[in-house]
Subunit: 198 residues, 2 copies
């Protein structure tokens, strides 16, 4: 039955199936502990077919990370028809919902692990850059002075670190944390821009 | 000559030499790109002797990370004879000096890369925990309420993200950035503790 089901899948559907399975493995366990033999077996495909979709283990891993980042990006998409402050709060709410529901995947994308791989770091940085641009698109400044740049990048790191701690305890309630995080950004935008000019 | 020099090194000195060399490789390049054959050759030792000191590539890598964390921890050691605010500023100054002088090592320790390895993540988290304890030892609170915990953990993430951006541009001058970062901690300790009680 498994073999017949396998033949019925189109390449697009097969790729999605492999990515789902890959995310379960790569985003929850050490990279070196993951066996592609086991992933292929669970998917009901040959290892050769797996390599047809992802040429190397590293490529498969990076495709899984990109998939998680695409989900996170969609989950935090600001509703552009709302005022900037509400866009921010909606984005933060989506971010914290994602953290609640996919804590492991979120941590795998954003946190340190083995080796220093610029291509891998660039995947998480791509999401941070998306957050950065969304925030500054909603801010009054057209250009970005250095102080504001430091403040917003810093705030993104602040949100990550707070969320990581929050994921383990889930207090305060999500809406309260959205208030606190949004309040900090407002404070930083005010304080660091002002300080910078002195 | 290299072979004779090799025989003269004591195990302790040899280990330090291998760690120095390992740091240069592991903290600057992707984990998978590093060849232990090349590291052994540069050290003027056999690969067998390298494995005598570090049983696996992963173990060697983790020893290099721990070494970098120990250096960072020493560089940010607060002078306990000074008042809390000056301890904080001295620690931040040491942190930013380390970022200035060892930008690659610092980024390798704290930033994401390939795979999800809890043991590796625990090395960087150990340093974050050291910062956390140093800050709260200097704070008036004896116990740590949840809001304060979130605020301090968040501030540590803030410092990392600001420093990462700052490492690329080096403006403002270090002393000014120490002011700004210390000011943010004071603000958070005040604001998040207060907010929490409502």
């Amino acid at each position: 039955m498994a073999v017949r089901a396998h033949h019925r899948l189109t390449p697009g559907v097969r790729r999605v199936q492999l990515l789902e399975l890959g995310k379960r493995h790569f985003l929850n366990r050490p990279y070196e502990a993951i066996s592609l033999d086991q992933v292929a077996e669970e998917a009901g495909v040959s290892k050769g077919l797996l390599y047809h979709y992802f040429a190397t283990k590293r490529e498969f891993y990076m495709a899984c990370l990109r998939e998680a980042v695409a989900e996170l990006s969609a989950a935090t998409e600001p509703p552009l028809d709302l005022p900037p402050d509400e866009q921010l709060r909606a984005g933060l709410d989506g971010y914290l919902r994602y953290v609640e529901e996919h804590a492991d995947a979120w941590q795998a994308v954003l946190r340190g692990s083995i080796g220093s791989d610029p291509e891998v770091a660039a995947i998480a940085d791509g999401f941070r850059e998306t957050m950065f641009r969304r925030i500054l698109a909603a801010a009054p400044e057209a250009s970005v002075p250095p102080g504001l740049r430091l403040a917003v990048k810093g705030w993104i790191g602040f949100v990550e670190a707070v969320s990581l701690e929050w994921a383990a305890r889930r207090t305060p309630v999500r809406a309260r944390l959205v208030d606190l995080l949004a309040g900090e950004l407002a404070h930083l935008l005010d304080r660091w821009s002002e300080n910078w000019a002195r």
